[in-house]
Amino acid sequence: MPFIPHTEQDVREMLVTIGAPSIDALFDEIPASLRISGLDGIPEGLSEMEIGRLMGERARLDGRPLSFLGAGAYEHHIPSAVWTITTRGEFYSAYTPYQAEASQGTLQLIYEYQTMISSLTGMEVSNASLYDGGSAVAEAALMAVRAHRKSKSLRVLVPQTVNPNYRRVAISTAGNQGLRFETVAYRREDGCIDREALAAYAGEDIAALVIQQPNFFGQLEDVDALTDWAHEQGMLVIAVVNPTSLALLKPPGEWGKTGADICVGEGQPLGVPLSSGGPYFGFMTTRMEYVRSMPGRIVGRTVDLDGKQGYTLTLQAREQHIRRGKATSNICTNQGLLMTAATIYMTLIGPQGLSKVAAASMQRSDELVEALTQVKGVRAAFKGPRFHEAVLLLDRPASAVLRELEAQGILGGLDLSGDYPELGSALLVCATETKTAGDLARYAAALGAAVQKVRAA
């Protein structure tokens, strides 16, 4: 019996101890009318050897195309040590560290994570992870509304330059509590928040402004001015950031005169494989004054009976298992293992390394844009500084071009026509430190051919 250790003798003797005639008798409190006799729709069990073969075949089906996709999930080098250690049974198969004395490994690691991510974002405190970047934005909006001292407003401004999927998640999640997310247009010339559109909200009672930096287009927003403007309007500022970029970009804690109030983002770039979209983790940091409004677990350092330092979950009164219906969030299981990987990643990559990853990614993406815009009919959509993504405009339908590229084993970027039809045929492309000059050249050549082919068709 796979994963069940019982011998026939065990079962017999255990039933005697229990005083039951059969295992089936243990289910005698279940109304007979409800009992089923089996699960005919489930295939027969496979041995590990068989499932290994099957999964190998399926993996090969997926292939390994050369990808220039970004849009919220980024291909970065992951040091071998990261997952070698992360998947050690003691991390992999432990539960939430409720028994602190038997969980100092996980607890200390979370404390170290909190330190790193707080410093990276320039904020004072962090939780131990949320589900992903999208849900972190939703939680941040709920938190902003909850934490706002002066306003009871349920309105949150979410510019169009915020990842459209984050906006969707925020609406699906926080919309249920009546939060209203209002979009703000972007400027066509630089792909940044349209300050005039924003100015229209001046003087209104709004809980928070969400600012994504770099924004969904990869462009850099003028975060200081935006933050100060929002604060002047009495709004809190929710920063949505790419952690890699923070090696070079001003951290949210330093935006404007007083810094953003809540900072969230997708932790995936920090050592988490792309893996079809998950598991990733959302990070969230904030000012100490808002710590009791924060959702999710938090670890604190304390002392034991002998005065020895140790770590434990703290501020649990915010959480559902204590506060139930009045908790700051319903989150229970979080994304601990991914946070573990990220902590090891940040340790291995270090401050210099992260700067280099960020710089190399910027360089590669600049070179990519340079190379691709040599192709006839391809041009950059926006002016102004970027991080490691860019929007390209094509004179032929992006979907058709992407299909041609796919046939060459290249994933050429994200077709923006669904979310940003006003851009026409637009592609969001990304290159990180993992791309070589050869990769870029290969893409450029293939794009030239693809555009020509589509034009000819």
Partner: protein, 495 residues
Amino acid sequence: MNQILEKSIFEYSRAGRSAHAQQPPGADVASAAQKIPAALRRRTAPMLPEVSELDAVRHFTRLSQLNFSIDTNFYPLGSCTMKYNPKACNQYAMLPEFLARHPLAPDTQGQGFLSCMFELQEMLKEVTGMKAVSLNPMAGAHGEFAGVAMIRAYHRARGDLARNEIIVPEAAHGTNPATATMCGCIVKEIPVDAQGDVDLDALAKAVGPNTAGIMLTNPSTLGVFERKIEQVAKLVHGAGGLLYYDGANLNAILGKVRPGDMGFDVIHMNLHKTFSTPHGGGGPGAGAVGVSARLEPFLPVPIVGREGDHYRWLSEADRPQSIGRLSAFMGNAGVLLRAYIYMRMLGREGMSRVGEYATLNANYVMARLRQAGFDLAYPERRASHEFIVTMKRQAKELNVTAMDIAKRLLDYGFHAPTTYFPLLVPECLLIEPTETESRETLDGFVAAMASIMAEAQADASTLKTAPHTMPVRRLDDVRAAKQLDLTWKPVNSAA
């Protein structure tokens, strides 16, 4: 487990040290920074550790050894289903192609992955008796959220706008009321009777035209099967409400009875419990949701559909009534792959055995602890896959609490059961052995419990000051919450 504490990674850090092989070659930080407008540039480096690769490996390896885990210890944590996580699930979910696949890669570059997801949906439908499944939610509570949101969307779609009350039994897990609140609902708690079943009279009084639905787990968190489930369903449905099944306890009944057959309209499954994906020291999980036909249109997107031989994502366009997206991409894909592998390895028979042997183990430990003189919260009832011991008597007579027992168990090499949950049973220990533990391990646990009881009678201080063999002794939680110390600060800095 290692008994020697490890210093902070920041204490290893030295300016200029690095794990050099990890740094990308040829990066020109200065010229990249130059391209960033001065005002947008970072001015001071983040405080990340500056250590060698060996320092990092050694530090985190040592930290890992400070943990209890399934791979090292029996972990009878009630409600959490801490069963063996097969290594194959991890290995095959981490095949290079799966890891490298970008979430926005087209369906055509993911037929392998998508076929696994489709089949997982189908299998989950079968084991739960539901009509349709969405794999998006990233944990149990996230699944609850999806479920309650669908219930609300359902009522709203019918113009039934007043229904904003969610009923939960007092034994419910904290996520249930918290979820209801997150969905903008009002929580109504109802009591359970002395046998652990829902108080039907109270329920009858609670339901009404504002009832959106009820959230139940069955078997309940009291470790017993809700015998009146059919009446409950009738009452709630009769009042126009829907039934939500908290699948945290699905392990108990796998292959024996299905939520769909009990009358539930929506269910979340904790794949990290029932389907053995790892808990990872806090996560990730996966909280797939299943629904009856009437809720199908509201399922969160994306969902995997099949057209002939081709698998593809169904999105908002295919499901206009969907409650929408709950994650930026499609949930915890890698966790779902692990669950898929696990389910395929267990297969039809294996799946049914899970419920059987989880129940056998729980009833066995219950019987033996009863013999050893422990008090059961529901001595008349069968255990489901878990059961409750109450230390109420000992708390009075010997001044030892459930917490003392829990801490002392650590010294015996066993992780403590869940303590003080459910809240309504005083001094409770919720014990869930799971089906993957051998009888010898269970016997060892019972022996430890008996020995601890003897210690309590001889000299309770051994328990009150436990644990004694962990890297730290009992920690001061009160101080932790009062003197918040949430990040490491250099010794010289003004903390």
